[in-house]
């Protein structure tokens, strides 16, 4: 071919490639930010008053009863599970490899928060905010937030993998039913229990009595689990609590190093502000 037409060919090919990139990759990531929420009307706000009262700060009940206690297998105590966690052969092999090479402590020692479902089982409270088309869960542990869209939008067909997934919800009577997809494989179902990018989580939030909430969590994963894994948690409302700040890096003296060794920083403070790392 002559030089000029080679150049034209290359430019044309690039143009075609750019168009196809834009129409597939670019748009499907942008799509997560393109559902337009209409302005709420006064009847939208009035409708919220008819929903069950989820307002206020709720404390997960730890220990005893229908509660999940996630115990780090690295310290030799097997996890207590409400239903058996049955992994596929491939994922059981992955789990055993993770346990065999277990770090002395998990990455939360380095202030990395857990993903779903673990972030909902922390010994710190959470607050539910109900606004038109949205339920927002303010999670005190690690100062995290979950957004559950109740505005009728569909789940994205190609969600970005994230720690908490993308969540949509709807009300079935007095029960908030939430479906979440798009989980990063950087997170685990439980310590040392990996999941695939096809994990899905279904949650049902309901009041058992005026100040007691039950959250039923069902985890499914066609690649990692042979059966759904179901956990139930009980939360109690505290009308006099407020969500407090939790900045993990404020004064974190724990760590797990790159060899998996756990450590602690006992250098006494001098009274000056901590130096940036």
């Amino acid at each position: 071919m002559k030089k000029a037409s080679v150049a034209q060919f290359v430019i044309a090919t690039c143009a075609v490639l750019m168009v196809s990139l834009f129409s597939t990759g670019f748009l499907s990531t942008v799509a997560a930010q393109t559902f337009k929420r209409r302005a709420p009307t006064s009847s939208d706000w009035a409708a919220i008053a008819k929903l069950p009262d989820f307002t206020g700060v709720w404390e997960v009940q730890m220990g005893g009863g229908p509660v999940t206690r996630i115990i780090n297998p690295a310290v030799g105590v097997p996890p207590a599970r409400p239903t058996p966690l049955s992994l596929t052969e491939a994922y059981e092999a992955k789990r055993q490899a993770l346990v065999a090479h277990a770090e002395e402590d998990n990455q939360s020692a380095n202030c990395l928060p857990p993903g779903m479902p673990g972030i909902m089982a922390q010994p710190y409270p959470m607050e539910f905010l109900l606004t038109p088309g949205l339920v927002t869960i303010v999670i005190e542990a690690y100062s995290m937030v979950r957004h559950i869209y109740t505005d009728g939008r569909p789940l994205p067909s190609d969600p970005d993998p994230t720690f908490f997934g993308t969540s949509i919800g709807h009300w079935e009577g007095d029960v908030l039913v939430v479906k979440s997809i798009g989980f990063s494989t950087q997170t685990e179902i439980e310590p040392h229990v990996p999941h695939s990018d096809k994990m899905e989580i279904l949650e049902k939030f309901r009041l058992l009595d005026p100040n007691t909430m039950n959250i039923e969590t069902t985890v499914t994963d066609p690649e990692a689990l042979t059966a759904p894994w179901v956990a139930n948690r009980i939360l109690k409302r505290h009308r006099n609590w407020a969500i407090a700040e939790y900045i993990c890096e404020q004064n974190n003296r724990n760590y797990v190093d790159k060899n998996g060794k756990a450590g602690i920083n006992l250098t006494a403070p001098t009274g000056a502000a901590p130096e940036p790392k």
């Binding site: 404390e59 730890m62 220990g63 206690r69 996630i70 115990i71 780090n72 690295a74 310290v75 105590v77 002395e104 402590d105 998990n106 939360s108 020692a109 202030c111 089982a121 922390q122 010994p123 710190y124 005190e140 005026p210 100040n211 109690k236 409302r237 505290h238 009308r239 006099n240 609590w241 407090a244 700040e245 939790y246 900045i247 993990c248 404020q250 004064n251 974190n252 003296r253 724990n254 756990a262 450590g263 602690i264 006992l266 006494a268 403070p269 009274g271």
Partner: protein, 136 residues
């Protein structure tokens, strides 16, 4: 005494306290470095009480056998947890003389996991226990 009444008074047996500690430690980072099989006590003077996340820290000056003093560091529960159980950032202050009950560090370093402490007048401050229930 007013101050004693403000603190979570779960009169747990040793095993009961350990069960509570274990369940809190479970969803809790950082406990891998502590030997939770036995408790120890140590007496000293508070140098500083850090009211910070993810853990409060009690820094204690403890006389050593060389005629001087060492600084020991005790990791405590989050101020978010403690603040709901009667603690404030002024509960312990520099100069307070206390006896701390703690889990030691596996490597023997001068520090541990703060479980509770006693003042010379007998007041006991605990870090664990259920949150108070209130009339909603």
């Amino acid at each position: 005494m007013k101050r004693v009444k403000n603190f979570a008074l779960v009169a747990a047996m040793q095993a009961g306290l350990l069960a509570v500690v274990a369940s809190v430690a479970a969803a809790h980072h950082g406990f891998a470095v502590f030997d939770t099989s036995s408790q120890h006590t140590i007496t000293g003077t508070v140098k500083e009480f850090q009211w910070t996340n993810p853990h409060t820290w009690v820094w204690l000056e403890v006389p050593n056998d060389k005629g001087g003093a060492d600084t020991w560091g005790f990791e405590g529960m989050s101020p978010n947890f403690l603040g709901r159980r009667g603690w404030t950032r002024k509960t312990l202050q520099a100069g307070d003389k206390i006896t701390i009950t703690y889990f030691a560090l596996k490597d023997g370093s001068k520090g541990g996991a703060f479980l509770s402490c006693k003042r010379p007048n007998g007041d006991e401050l605990k870090m664990f226990g259920a949150s108070p229930t209130e009339d909603n």
